[in-house]
């Protein structure tokens, strides 16, 4: 059973998580392993953009089941084989009808290359591709991958209100 950490907002852009259990701990944030077999009982997570709750999963030494963050990771792992004439590989994600280059990966003779994507949203169909490019910028082979993502849903954005007359807290979808 995963631990339930306590969360304290440190500002708009960071949150402190603390937990207790039986060390060592493994901690995933947004599907990424942040602490592996660590005795630490605190993690401060900083992130760009507006403040929002994050997906965090903490397992201690009592946990034998695999972490959901790993079994159903929101991040795709792209792996491809290097090519002889390539100078770089463009990692691209389909956004609408446009392919956006997320990063170029240089050909360095490693043989195999991997790229871990950003966390994707549960239930969406995403498309990524790898485009080989030579030193002159000419593009060659394209490896394309389509995946329907199954993972823990994002914490939903919501708006809340309280009615003193009824004593009810109401949450509804954010506008």
């Amino acid at each position: 059973m995963p631990l339930t950490p306590q969360a304290e907002r440190l500002g708009l852009y960071s949150t402190r998580y603390t937990w207790s259990g039986n060390a060592p701990y493994r901690v995933w944030v947004e599907g990424e392993l942040r602490l592996d077999q660590s005795d630490a009982t605190e993690l401060i997570v900083q992130y760009p953009g507006a403040a929002m709750p994050q997906a965090i999963e903490v397992l201690d030494s009592n946990d034998t089941d695999p972490a959901e963050s790993e079994a159903y990771s929101p991040r795709l792992r792209l792996q491809w084989r290097g090519q002889a004439d390539a100078a770089a590989y463009l990692v691209q994600r389909l956004a609408g009808s446009e392919w956006e280059t997320r990063t170029p990966v240089g050909e360095s003779g490693l043989g195999y290359y991997r790229y871990i994507t950003v966390p994707e949203i549960d239930g969406t169909e995403v498309q990524w591709r790898i485009v080989a490019q030579d030193s002159q910028g000419y593009q060659g082979a394209v490896l394309r991958h389509t995946q329907t993502v199954v993972c823990n849903p994002l914490p939903p954005a919501f708006e809340d209100s309280y009615d003193a007359g009824t004593g009810l807290l109401t949450v509804e979808a954010a506008a």
Partner: protein
């Protein structure tokens, strides 16, 4: 024996709708196991891993003379096999049938083979065998793979046994082509059975293996495994291969939002939610408690959000919400500083509040008791912006000095003068003072050769109070900085790379001149303070109305040359509040109030927003 499927493109079985529908044999092999390569031997490409290898960490180790040996997960390596440049080899692990086929790409990497390749074998998802995801309502659909003998010898005794929910059928291609069906829900014209067999598959020969997946109403499963076992004999060795892949069984009824609420504590996310279903959701909050709540979402595969950060509402005894308009600050650090002082590093997310606070409000005790915000007098300090476009305000405040060994406890809040309210933190931060207020003269001097120079200062860094024994009005002097304070900070004069006179008070031209005390600083209360010259009140500090009153003001923006010591110097013609230059050791006036009631500010003024 290779297996392949049809109507695919480059990434084959990992496409969203990868099922073969008949037609001609594809060139893309079925891969039930994907190798996730952690370290590589650059020329080596893993072309295929036999499913019998299972999952887990495997290795390929280079031996002498360009040989390689493969170790499947959990077992020892098999024999070393030579791999020629631009050639293929089948590497078998300790157990026959657990194998990888590799290709040595000498065009990509012409070097000899060396080192070790480490890779994790994982299952495929939504591949040619497992198909797409389904729901608990069940499904009947169809797929196919080709069995293809790419060796130079017969493969004999082929027995295909599908796992639960599958039925299979062989179809013999005519001219290399089999019946094409339009989609995965259209049944092909074959007879499905519980198992099929084939006596011989000749070299280069293909056979289409069709299968039907029939899953009845079942339970949700985010990772269901589909399996078809293929046993065969090759070169007098019996092999058993498994074609498999994961698919998911969803239950649309599980998709919902879940509202978790905790009363005076964080919610228990392992317990039932306070409310669940479609939005909006409502939960009752009992009066007289603080309630923490968080909203999660659960999908059809029974996977829920993993957020734990909560919002909170405080409900008073009458059931009314106590509006908390200000966020609490965070205490980043609290530590014992020099001279018996305590420094408190604070951060406040001013953009998080609709109306931002403008004041740090600290409740401080040094006698071991907890501060009591309901009864204690707070120590208010103006906030200073820490930079343009910075998303939060961070200031470090100095408290004290306190006695050595004193236990200092602090509750940190913020206060908004616009809202006339403060935040509600009750968190007590505590430390023991480990430095001491200096006693006696501070005999700092310079020496030139064998001669000892004159002391630059005989005044300690520290605090001088002007309303003893209450000790709330005083001047704190540190190297390069002097702070004049009453119930709040009056001003702070800084020398250094950026010399500034910081104040949140306004300058009002209101002549003074009443009879006062002979001392340079006269305290009527912690909110009413005078700067006197020759026994007359010449400048007034009004911390209620937050202003400095004097007959006139001059902003010199340059240091006056007054070669005397501070932090307060009084002459018959003026009173100076001074700051000591950290480099030269000389005292420089931060302000001067003369006998005509003119206050001269000697440093560039930074008028801070109160």
């Amino acid at each position: 024996m290779a297996t392949a499927f049809t109507n695919s493109d480059a990434l084959g079985c990992f496409l969203s709708d990868p099922r073969g529908l008949g037609g001609a044999r594809s060139a893309v092999e079925f891969e039930a196991r994907e190798p996730v390569v952690l370290s590589s031997i650059p020329p080596i490409i893993i072309e295929r891993v036999s499913p019998l290898c299972g999952v887990g960490r495997a290795t390929i180790t280079a031996g002498p003379d360009n040989t390689l040996a493969f170790a499947a997960p959990g077992e020892a390596a098999g024999v070393y096999v030579a791999v020629a440049p631009n050639g293929r080899a089948l590497l078998e692990s300790e157990t026959p049938g657990k194998s990888v086929r590799v290709y040595r790409d000498s065009v990509y990497a012409p070097s000899d083979l060396g080192g070790q390749m480490i890779f994790d074998l994982v299952h495929g998802v939504n591949n040619a065998i497992s198909g797409g995801n389904i729901t608990v309502a069940g499904v009947t659909d169809y797929g196919c793979v080709w069995l293809y003998n790419q060796s130079a010898e017969d493969i004999t005794g082929i027995e295909v046994t599908p796992g639960s929910g599958f039925a299979v059928a062989f179809e013999t291609p005519v001219g290399g082509v089999c019946e094409v069906t339009p989609n995965a829900t259209t049944a092909p014209v074959v007879t499905f059975t519980g198992s099929v067999s084939l006596a011989t598959l000749a070299p280069g020969e293909s056979r289409l293996l069709r299968f039907r997946r029939t899953v009845g109403a079942t339970t949700v499963n985010a990772a269901a495994l589909a399996e078809i076992e293929v046993a065969y004999t090759y070169d007098s060795v019996a092999y058993t291969d498994v074609l498999d892949g994961y698919y998911r069984i969803g239950n649309p009824a599980l998709a919902q939002y879940e509202l978790y609420v905790g009363e005076d504590e964080l919610p228990d996310f392992t317990a039932a939610p306070a409310a669940s279903g479609a939005l909006p959701l409502a939960a009752a909050l009992s009066p007289g408690h603080r309630h923490f709540y968080a909203l999660r979402q659960r999908n059809i595969y029974d996977l829920a959000s993993l957020n734990v950060l909560c919002e909170s509402k405080l409900i008073d005894g009458a059931g009314e919400e106590v509006l908390e308009l200000l966020s609490d600050p965070s205490v980043l650090a609290i530590e014992s500083s020099t001279g018996g002082e305590v420094s408190v590093a604070l951060r406040y997310a001013d953009m998080a509040d609709d109306v931002a606070a403008d004041t740090w409000r600290l409740y401080v005790t040094s006698d071991g008791t907890d501060p009591d915000p309901d009864n204690d007098t707070p120590d208010d300090r103006p906030m200073r912006q820490t930079g343009l476009a910075r998303p939060q305000i961070e200031n470090t405040l100095r408290l004290g000095p306190f006695d050595y060994g004193a236990t200092v406890k602090v509750i940190a809040r913020v206060y908004s003068s616009a809202l006339e309210t403060e935040s509600g933190s009750e968190q007590v931060h505590e430390l023991t003072v480990t430095t001491q207020v200096p006693v006696g003269a501070h005999r700092l001097g310079v020496s030139m050769g064998g001669l000892r120079g004159a002391p630059l200062s005989s005044v300690n860094d520290g605090v001088v109070y002007y309303d003893a024994p209450t000790n709330t009005v005083g001047i704190r002097s540190l190297t390069g900085e002097v702070v004049f304070f009453g119930s709040g900070e009056i001003f702070r004069a800084e020398l250094g790379a950026l010399s500034l006179f910081r104040t949140s008070l306004e300058f009002h031209t209101i002549p003074q001149g009443g009879a006062g005390a002979p001392t340079p600083i006269e305290v009527v209360s912690e909110d009413e303070i005078y700067i006197n010259v020759a026994g007359l009140r010449r400048a007034k500090i009004d911390l209620v109305n937050r202003r400095i009153e004097a007959a006139g003001f001059e902003f010199a923006h340059a240091a006056l040359d007054v070669p005397v010591i501070g932090p307060v110097h009084i002459s018959s013609a003026a009173t100076y509040i001074m700051v000591r230059n950290a480099v030269t050791g000389r005292w420089t006036p931060g302000i001067a109030v003369d006998e005509d009631g003119i206050m001269t500010v000697c440093l560039p003024v930074l008028q801070e927003v109160a």
